[in-house]
């Protein structure tokens, strides 16, 4: 067999033309075994390193050239030999790097796999013994809310994943790992609510869920909502869940969820920042403007009593101590808004106390009363 000599050597690591993926495919021969010559780059020998053979290791030569945009609609793996005349498979709405990319996705994908865990086996369910009645009820409500947050995240990602172009498989595979995590979070929290002959609480207030589900202009907008607005709240709820857990098993499950959520947010923040940095000027400002209405949705969810009273009972230990618990919940909300502002600013979205919705800003002015237990 004769592989063409003119093929590029593997170690040619110079950056190729990244402006756009080549649209013209060379003619392929229909001769038997002609495919043996059909490669854009031969002689690649990636080696496993300290973390095994990672997806990042594969990004050598042309295989690592991530195009600014791709017009390929036929699922051609990045760097595979193109064939002309192949009908299009789908219309990938997200075919520009700026619409989904984050440099860290490739590492986060491998991390997700290395840090996988098994709720039904690794949580010591027997250690979760019945607690005082009101605490149990509140815990069921809290876990119902967290299970729904996870399931909404499944839906949100599910709506967008299949619209992403194959050229960005690092992001697609990372989001696959995230959607897998959401399934685990859903199951764990639902099972926790049902444990000890429990039952489920009320559904979420839902304003912000609707906002995430109904957002259409792009994954970046959805990503801002999912990772910079909802994400910090979920993360704080997990943290408080861990801090006020009454047994090792609950602590363990919240801690594992924190790890997962931190990973999701690492991608999301990096993506929004990447988009703001690489979209035309004014894009970040637009994201900030978009938040003006969205913040009012948030206020509604933050004022809905169900989740917050449940958490106040968990923190206080009983309804009798709900007022003390609620003081801590007010701290959580203040931290949440602070965190939201910080993350938006980090990503390049101009969100400050000055342009924050006055109703949200009101949460900032509450005095700190208790440590979070971090």
């Amino acid at each position: 067999m004769a592989l063409d000599e003119e093929q590029k050597p593997a170690d040619s690591t110079e950056e190729g033309d990244q402006s756009q993926e080549s649209e013209t495919a060379p003619a392929v021969s229909s001769e038997p075994l002609a495919w043996m010559n059909d490669t854009l780059q031969w002689g690649v020998r990636v080696q496993p390193g300290r973390k095994g053979l990672t997806m990042r290791d594969l990004n050598v030569g042309i295989y690592g050239e991530v195009p600014e945009s791709s017009s390929d609609m036929s699922r051609r793996p990045r760097g595979a030999f193109p064939v002309s005349g192949i009908p299009r498979t789908d219309l990938y709405a997200l075919s520009a790097r700026v619409d989904l990319w984050a440099d860290n996705a490739v590492d986060l994908y491998e991390e997700a796999i290395q840090r996988r865990w098994m709720g039904h086996l690794e949580i010591g369910w027997d250690e979760i013994t019945p607690q005082p009645y009101e605490f149990e009820l509140a815990m069921r409500q809290f876990c119902t809310e967290l299970a729904q947050q996870a399931s909404i995240e499944t839906d949100v990602i599910g709506q967008w994943l299949h619209k992403m172009n194959y050229a960005y498989h690092e992001v697609k595979t990372f989001l696959a790992s995230e959607i897998f995590d959401t399934g685990r979070h859903y199951t764990t929290f639902r099972n926790r609510a049902l444990h000890n002959e429990g039952s489920l609480g009320l559904e979420s207030a839902g304003q912000f869920n609707r906002r995430m589900m109904e957002t259409r202009p792009g994954w970046t907008e959805v990503g801002m909502f999912l990772y910079l607005v909802r994400g910090p709240l979920t993360l704080l709820l997990y943290r408080y869940g861990e801090a006020y857990a009454r047994n090792r098993a609950d602590k363990f499950l919240f801690r594992k969820c924190i790890e997962d959520k931190a990973r999701h947010m690492a991608y999301g923040m990096a993506h929004v920042k990447y988009a703001v940095d690489n979209q035309p000027p004014g894009f970040g400002q637009g994201l900030g403007n978009l938040m003006r209405g969205v913040e009012r949705d948030l206020v509604q969810d933050l004022r809905d009593p169900v989740l917050w009273e449940a958490l106040a009972i968990i923190i206080g230990g009983s309804v009798a101590n709900i007022a003390q618990g609620m003081a801590v919940v007010d701290d959580l909300k203040r931290q949440y808004i602070e965190d939201y502002l910080k993350r938006m600013q980090w990503a390049g979205v101009n969100k400050t106390e000055a342009n924050l919705s006055p109703d949200l800003a009101a949460f900032l002015r509450r005095e700190e009363t208790a440590p979070t237990g971090d």
Partner: protein
């Protein structure tokens, strides 16, 4: 521990302080129902079994809200298996066992790996698309699908790794669209159509091939890849079989329609159309397989003989799935694709 009387008292006190607590009373009275509703009225993404509120905007607009459209037996157990049997393509494959191969063998492995790295994500994109169109009341189905999305990502990834690990590279992309009667896997809008196409036909064929991976592997790393992928693929095929079995029992009025999907699937299997069966006739991957199975490009005749046996095995296993799902009447009543029937007889 508070008595009921004292509890009423201090709950009242808390309400006087401005706390709502009405949710707490609702929760107290709520008993989670047994089983899953036949028809889902869930439009707000709530957790199955949770207490609906009257004041939440509806945004679900789920296409699939009838149990008999999507349900399957034993998915909870299958999902647990998905969770326990995850693996890492970075660390669970003994990559260091790969040694340089002759050019024709390496090219054939790389062509096959290119095929898999391309088609594996069909099996990720498409189930992914269905998840969010399905009421969360049928969460067991959604969980199985999202777990499949994860598996397929790892498959895309492990085959890309194989193509770039041993002095080769990616090769020719695949045409999975031309010549497809009734549409490709991507096109299905109906869950049962999708599942019979992807899980039963497409992945069924791939599963047989992965199970025979030892025959086309040239080192421990390749053996491990095929072995682990076969385990994963068996779960994906199981989703389809468990769904069809449920449909057979609870939606018998759809049996004829399902037989039509199977007609289409069989014609793809018999002709190689749709390009999803790498062992299919007239696929360039079947040439690559013939090289690998025979032991070189000069031993392709031998390879083709083995490949014929593999196709027979694919058909045999497909027939077993039909039987398991309750659709094997087609094997005996003359409906099954004649070319497949011939293969089946030859395999017996």
């Amino acid at each position: 521990m508070a008595t009921v009387e004292s509890r009423t008292e201090y709950w009242e006190r808390a309400k006087e302080q401005g706390f709502d607590l009405s949710w707490l009373s609702q929760l107290q009275e709520h008993v989670a129902g047994e089983g899953v509703e036949e028809r889902s009225a869930n439009d707000t993404g709530r957790v199955q079994g949770s207490i609906p509120r009257g004041n939440v905007a509806r945004f679900g607009a789920y296409t699939f809200r009838t149990k008999s459209e999507v349900w399957a037996y034993n998915l909870t157990k299958l999902y647990e298996e998905f969770i326990t049997r995850q693996w890492s393509s970075a660390t669970d494959i003994p990559w260091d066992t790969i040694q340089p191969l002759s050019d024709d063998i390496e090219a054939s492995q790389c062509q096959l790996a290119t095929f898999f790295t391309q088609v594996e994500f069909v099996a990720s994109d498409v189930p992914g698309r269905f998840i969010s169109t399905m009421s969360p009341d049928y969460q067991e189905v959604r969980l199985a699908l999202l777990a499949q999305v994860m598996d397929e990502s790892r498959h895309l990834d492990v085959f890309r790794k194989r193509a770039l690990a041993n002095g080769g590279g990616l090769m020719r992309m695949i045409d999975s669209v031309s010549d497809v009667v009734g549409g490709s896997t991507d096109n299905a809008r109906e869950f049962t159509e999708f599942s019979s196409r992807l899980h039963i036909t497409g992945e069924g064929n791939v599963l047989t091939l992965f199970r025979l991976g030892e025959m086309m592997a040239y080192n421990e790393a390749e053996k491990a890849i095929y072995r682990r992928c076969a385990q994963d693929e068996a779960r994906h095929v199981a989703i389809g079989v468990l769904h069809l079995r449920y449909m057979n029992e609870f939606a018998p009025e759809r049996r004829e329609e399902i037989h039509c999907y199977l007609d289409e699937g069989e014609s793809r299997q018999a002709t190689g159309a749709g390009g999803e069966n790498p062992a299919g006739q007239s696929q360039l991957t079947s040439q690559a397989l013939a090289v690998l199975l025979g032991g070189g490009k000069d031993k392709m005749d031998e390879g083709q003989n083995i490949l014929r046996a593999i196709r027979q095995r694919q058909t045999k296993e497909y027939f077993q799935r039909l039987k398991s799902a309750g659709f094997d009447d087609r094997i005996h009543n003359g409906r099954v694709n004649p070319a497949l029937l011939e293969q089946y007889k030859a395999a017996a």
